[in-house]
């Protein structure tokens, strides 16, 4: 129960705002998939298409192999948690969770048992008589989960449910949601613009940009191997260095950058000589050395321009000779540099990726 498939899905709002364009996506049973992207990237529209609140301009939606494209939202059995939660203010906790079952005329005992089971699942046992307004933010979240799961939905949809929570509560709820989801093994589509949230919760992440899917993959894949400069930038921080492919041989690719030559081994990227591209390297893969050392491969000189402490890490902002800014992040305790120090920037060979320049 719960396989979701989107085939060539597009949604155009009048007059010609293309919210979602040619989205193809298959979500397996029990999988937790996050739609990630900046505001206006089409992630919420995609979710609303699955829920049936929007009608696709083209394309089809399948849930458990059944084409639901033409079905209204109340025939889809997709449990949704809204950004505002939308818990009915005129009903108590029990009334909210029981709503769907009452509409479908389940028996009183059946409803009571199910509500009790759900409340214990979201750790709210004994709260059925509370008014929504009497609940804390975290408790309201849990009631919203329970309400959406009460009908045993084929797919569990969440539209940025944690956006309004403060940081601590948000992390608590992230853990809670993922535990809950693993326990009941419900197929889940989660929408967020928060890349940390996506990284820490998902089986797979779908990075969306301007209505299209940029990349689909596990959090690790997307972090280590971003498919585009947009993804590299959106997931964590990265350094993007413009480069031109100079020579491609079997074992290495040689590139020129404003700060000097760089060579890349073991690349499976199919690049032609003369191509202009971008090198992406994460700050934690940039090493710094004292400038007086003898030059090493894939390194160039620079100067510490700015330095700041971020938790356990120190971030150095290095100004290179050609005027580029490279960020390096270091565990504290390593040899420390100070603002104004000349340094040698070393790019770890295994850690960088060649990316095609964005067309946009």
């Amino acid at each position: 129960m719960g396989r979701v498939e989107l085939r060539n899905l597009s949604k155009t709002f009048a007059p010609d705002i293309r919210a979602v364009e040619n989205v193809d996506l298959a979500i397996e049973e029990g999988e937790f998939v996050t739609l990630l992207g900046p505001s206006g990237c089409g992630k919420t529209t995609t979710l609303r298409l699955v829920a049936g609140f929007e009608e696709p301009t083209t394309g089809r939606i399948f849930i458990d192999g059944q084409d639901v494209t033409a079905l209204p939202p109340y025939r889809r059995n997709a449990g949704m948690v809204f950004q505002s939660l939308a818990l009915f203010p005129h009903m108590d906790v029990f009334g909210n969770i029981a709503y769907g079952m009452r509409i479908r005329k389940h028996s009183g005992t059946e409803i009571r048992e199910k509500v009790e089971e759900l409340l214990s699942l979201v750790k709210l046992s004994g709260m059925e008589g509370r008014k929504i307004q009497q609940l804390s933010g975290g408790q309201q979240q849990r009631v919203a989960f329970a309400r959406a799961l009460a009908m045993n939905p084929s797919v569990f949809l969440l539209d940025e449910p944690f956006a309004a929570l403060d940081k601590n509560l948000r992390e608590e709820m992230q853990v809670e949601l993922r535990r809950l989801q693993k326990r009941i093994r419900v197929t889940t589509i989660f929408v967020t613009h928060n890349q940390r949230e996506a990284m820490s919760m998902s089986d797979r992440i779908v990075v969306m940009n301007q209505g299209r899917i940029d990349q689909v993959g596990t959090p690790r894949e997307i972090y280590v191997n971003p498919a585009s400069p947009f993804v590299a930038n959106f997931i964590g921080t990265t350094n993007l260095i413009p480069a031109t492919v100079e020579r491609v041989s079997r074992e290495a690719v040689r590139l020129t950058t404003p700060d000097g030559p760089i060579s890349l081994t073991g690349t499976d990227l199919d690049v032609a000589e003369g191509t202009e591209c971008l090198i992406s390297i994460r700050p934690e893969s940039v090493r710094l050395n004292v400038e007086a050392d003898r030059p090493v491969e894939n390194s160039f000189p620079g100067k510490v321009d700015f330095k700041r402490h971020v938790g356990e890490l120190i971030e150095y902002y290095i100004q290179t000779r050609a005027g580029q800014e490279i960020i390096a992040s270091y565990q504290t305790g390593r040899p420390e540099f100070y603002e104004g120090d000349p340094v040698r920037v070393i790019l770890e060979r295994e850690a960088f990726r060649l990316l095609q320049k964005d067309n946009s």
């Binding site: 829920a51 609140f53 059995n77 809204f82 939308a86 005129h90 009903m91 009452r102 008589g129």
Partner: protein, 287 residues
């Protein structure tokens, strides 16, 4: 601190002064007049007599007018609600250019009641009005006049007070987050069940205030029933006006005005109490 206290005094003095000058003094005068003595052929003499009230409560004629006024006010409120709710709902949920439609609704208020009431006398007349259209279409056999009469009074009242219903409901309906309705659809309730179980209960406050507003406005209606109605359709306001102007009996008019006012206050209290505790829905029943 002292200076601030002094300024605060002036700030409070303004609304307090307004209240005293425009509400408390006239009300006190009305109450006083209602106990005055009305000498035959004269105006009034200060006195304390319950004669005005006993006259009202012992004469079937006056009690009937009160009953009719209450009935027609309730009917107008219900009709305005039935007509106004779907319209306003459409306005807040579907229509674009909401502001334009709202201005259109308000624009009917720019003309005086008197002009609009006379307009209805023309529309409902035998020779110029909708009667001709009805006869031509074949709904009725012969053209006839609907005015003056009960039908005309009801149409006039609904027409005149509908904008107040729409404006009151508009605020409430616009304030209902659409996600509530979407959540209901998502949980398997179709459009009608969603309306009954979510939208309607959430708009309860607007329905109550709108209906009360129209009810109370109609309780005091004077122009529409006097232009579009026969004496059988005269409301309390017309009877009160008659007493005060034509019969020169201000004390009796004042006592009837007070009876009407007390009645309105009791109605508001009763409905507010019922509305506060009663609920219309499946979910609110608890377990």
């Amino acid at each position: 601190m002292r200076r601030q206290g002094g300024k605060l005094k002036y700030l409070v003095a303004y609304p307090l002064g307004m209240l005293i000058i425009f509400f408390l003094i006239p009300l006190a005068m009305l109450i006083a007049f209602s106990f005055y003595y009305h000498p035959p052929g004269g105006f009034y003499e200060p006195a304390f007599t319950l004669e005005n009230y006993t006259r009202f409560f012992t004469k079937v004629l006056y009690l009937k007018r009160l009953a009719f006024t209450v009935e027609i006010s309730a009917l107008t409120a219900v009709l305005c609600l039935l007509l106004g709710y779907p319209f306003t709902y459409y306005l807040t949920r579907i229509a674009s250019r909401k502001r334009f439609y709202i201005i259109l609704v308000i624009s009917t208020l720019w003309l005086s009641y008197i002009i609009r009431s006379y307009a209805w006398t023309v529309i409902l007349s035998k020779h110029a009005g909708i009667s001709k259209l009805f006869a031509w279409v074949g709904i009725i056999e012969q053209t006839r006049s609907y005015t003056p009469g009960l039908f005309a009074v009801i149409i006039g009242l609904v027409y005149v007070f509908l904008p107040f219903m729409v404006l009151t409901l508009y605020g409430t309906l616009k304030g209902i987050n659409r996600e509530y309705e979407e959540a209901s659809l998502n949980l398997g309730a179709g459009p009608w069940k969603t309306f009954v179980n979510v939208t309607l209960p959430l708009s309860k406050d607007g329905i109550i205030s709108g209906a009360l507003l129209v009810f109370i406005l109609t309780l005091g209606a004077y122009v529409v029933p006097s232009i579009l109605g026969k004496p059988q359709q005269w409301t309390m306001a017309i009877i009160i006006g008659d007493q005060a102007t034509y019969e020169s009996n201000v004390p009796f008019g004042a006592s009837m005005a007070l009876v009407l006012m007390v009645f309105a206050i009791l109605t508001i209290g009763l409905i507010a109490k019922l509305g506060g505790t009663k609920s219309l829905t499946v979910g609110a029943k608890g377990r």
